[in-house]
């Protein structure tokens, strides 16, 4: 799979099919990027389960944090990796073990070997992207900040992504 370029159709499908996200490296600190992403994704209707050994047992944005992926009692549709590229290796192996269908590495995070292992195990891998940014882009919210969404449409409503569209053009006004 080409990891320099992902089609909008693929990203849309992932964001539509996903309901529960395990966020590895989620921070309890409100000005960290992972906290931003978690809060945003929650507001779009996703359940986000924080994974962070330092926060295990505490609550972040209302959700109990776990020390590792294997401790999560619920089914996880996507593992979102907010750690560096090297750490993404063993986390990916753990994500394969728990059978996560999608493994998503954040902006700046790339681990080709791990991606290969995950793909061989049947998972879909996205690297060097942020699900918050992709959700915002595909739902025209990123455009509000002058960001090039790459989406053109002559339709009044866009094909939206995700379980709920609070705050997106597509639902708020209808």
């Amino acid at each position: 799979m080409d990891h320099d370029h992902y089609s909008d159709a693929l990203l849309r499908k992932i964001l539509n099919d996903t309901k529960t996200i395990a966020m590895v490296g989620a921070s309890a600190n409100w000005n960290r990027p992972s906290f931003f992403a978690m809060k945003y994704l929650q507001s779009k209707g996703y359940r986000v389960i924080p994974v962070n050994p330092r926060e295990a047992g505490t609550k972040i944005l209302g959700e109990t944090a776990y020390a590792n992926l294997k401790d999560i009692p619920d089914k996880v549709d996507m593992v979102d990796i907010f750690r560096n590229s090297k750490a993404a290796g063993p986390i990916t192996d753990e994500a394969i073990e728990i059978g996560a269908p999608v493994i998503w590495m954040q902006l700046g995070v790339r681990n080709e070997d791990a991606a290969k292992r995950a793909e061989e195990a049947g998972a879909t891998v996205i690297m060097n992207r942020c699900p918050k940014i992709e959700y915002g882009r595909l739902n025209a919210e990123l455009s509000w900040s002058g960001i090039n969404s790459g989406v053109i449409s002559s339709k009044r409503t866009r094909k939206a992504s995700g379980p709920m569209r609070r705050g997106g053009f597509s639902s708020r006004r209808h």
Binding site: A9, W144, G146, G167
Partner: protein, 443 residues
């Protein structure tokens, strides 16, 4: 993105909605502008509102913390203005754009994001005169020091660099004189120094040249000129390529270090390849305030829809007028990069194969007095200080915009006493030629 009109036809048809498949003309009409979701209005509505309601206090907090996307207050974002911004980002094949009240405001936003008091930058000396003023005086008061260099040899930029330099700035097609800068070489020099190249693409426009393809990192625009195209509104923009690594050194703390006024949030880390755009908006527009009005944004959006068509004709007309003037007995020289006689002809072929724009200068054999007589004798061409209008515009810099300068300073900036600047419009070419011919007979 493809910038040539031929390419889209070669793309296979299909339902892949990725941007690459659209040509320049399509993006100029559609990028950023889906129908209004509430009413179905097909052209972009003018959202004349200062502010926007919050859903609840938590929503407001998320917006203020930049944790979610949305509208707060029109000094920062406005739905009409954001259509223009996304369109510009698409046309320049960039990642994001911030629009603002004028081209000068765009330069202010760009430099205020990159520079701190005591910092320096290098700029081409062949710039729009107003930019030379901005960089020389008011920027100096901010503690930003500019070194001007002759841009015709790219090595001059390298020679002027100091460890305090945070950027290189040039106009790829310089106003007024038909000078083209070898920006691919200048970009290499900037990148070796770990700093961005900022290109003012106002006169070339994204239809004729895509500076990001040649290594530029930021593009500034005076939208007042060809993008608006009808001489009816001021506007500006900064566009980010998304390719520059702001954390490669410690030169850009505004982007790579925690921002105090956002509770220690780090822009580059949080927003990645559009971190510059977010900072230029959330700090630059918020704190400096040079916001674009949604009314002007609407006029500029409408202008951009025909940018490709207009630039094609501006170039055709400019070529015809330049060829006529080159043979005219009262004209000493014509500085238009579309003429084989121009020393910039080869660079024009490389950077602007569709033509080197519609703006150029000529030198009159009769000097200052002939210049004055010529502009006063025009009946069709308008005697005024602007460029990039549908109308042909004529100016004698030495008696107007540059009259404060000594003759030596005038000559150095390409505006000696004998110089006439022409911004060729979209009238019938033979009518423009006839008017200039009769004006020259008075000169």
């Amino acid at each position: 993105m493809s910038s040539t009109p031929e390419q889209p036809d070669e793309q296979p048809p299909g339902d892949d909605d990725d941007f690459e498949v659209y040509g320049f003309e399509t993006l100029a009409i559609h990028a950023g502008a889906a129908p209004d979701p509430t009413t179905g209005a097909r052209t972009t509505p003018i959202y004349a509102t200062a502010s926007y309601v919050f859903d609840d206090v938590d929503h407001a907090a998320s917006l203020y913390n930049l944790q979610t996307f949305g509208f707060i207050y029109s000094r920062l974002t406005n739905p009409t203005v954001s259509v223009l911004e996304e369109r510009l980002a698409a046309l320049e094949n960039g990642r994001g754009a911030v629009a603002c009240g004028s081209g000068h405001a765009a330069q202010l936003l760009a430099f205020s994001t990159l520079l701190q008091a005591g910092d320096e930058f290098v700029a081409a000396r062949n710039l729009y005169g107003g930019s030379i003023n901005q960089f020389s005086y008011v920027f100096k008061n901010f503690g930003w020091n500019c070194h001007f260099v002759d841009p015709t040899d790219p090595e001059n930029f390298r020679k002027a660099l100091t460890p305090k330099c945070k950027a290189i700035f040039c106009e790829n097609l310089a106003n007024p004189g038909g000078i083209i800068v070898d920006i691919e070489k200048v970009a290499e020099i900037a990148h070796e120094a770990g700093i961005p190249l900022i290109v003012d693409n106002t006169i070339a426009t994204p239809y004729l040249c895509n500076p990001f393809d040649w290594g530029a990192d930021l593009i500034t625009h005076s939208l007042t000129k060809y993008l608006c195209g009808h001489g009816n509104s001021l506007g500006g923009a900064v566009i980010e390529s998304g390719k520059f690594d702001w954390a490669q050194n410690d030169k850009f703390p505004a982007l790579s270090q925690p921002t105090e006024s956002y509770h220690g949030m780090t822009f580059y880390e949080t927003f990645g390849d559009f971190g510059f755009t977010m900072h230029a908006r959330a700090v630059g527009l918020r704190d400096l305030g040079p916001t674009l009005s949604p009314f002007n944004a609407f006029l500029i959006i409408t202008g951009i829809e025909t940018l490709g068509l207009r630039m094609e004709r501006h170039v055709q007309n400019a070529q015809a007028v330049a060829e006529f003037l080159e043979k005219h007995p009262k004209v000493d020289w014509v500085s238009y990069a579309g003429l084989k006689s121009s020393e910039f002809y080869d660079l024009a072929q490389k950077y602007m194969p569709k033509g080197p724009g519609g703006l150029f200068t000529i030198g009159l054999k009769g000097g200052y007095d002939a210049g004055v007589r010529m502009v006063e004798a025009c009946e069709l061409c308008s005697h005024l200080a602007n460029v990039g209008d549908t109308r042909t515009l004529i100016l004698h810099p030495a008696s107007t915009t540059h009259r404060q300068l000594t003759e030596e300073q005038q000559r150095a900036s390409g505006s000696g006493p004998e110089v006439i600047r022409l911004s060729i419009g979209l009238e019938t070419a033979s009518d423009i030629i006839r008017d200039l011919d009769q004006a020259l007979s008075a000169a």
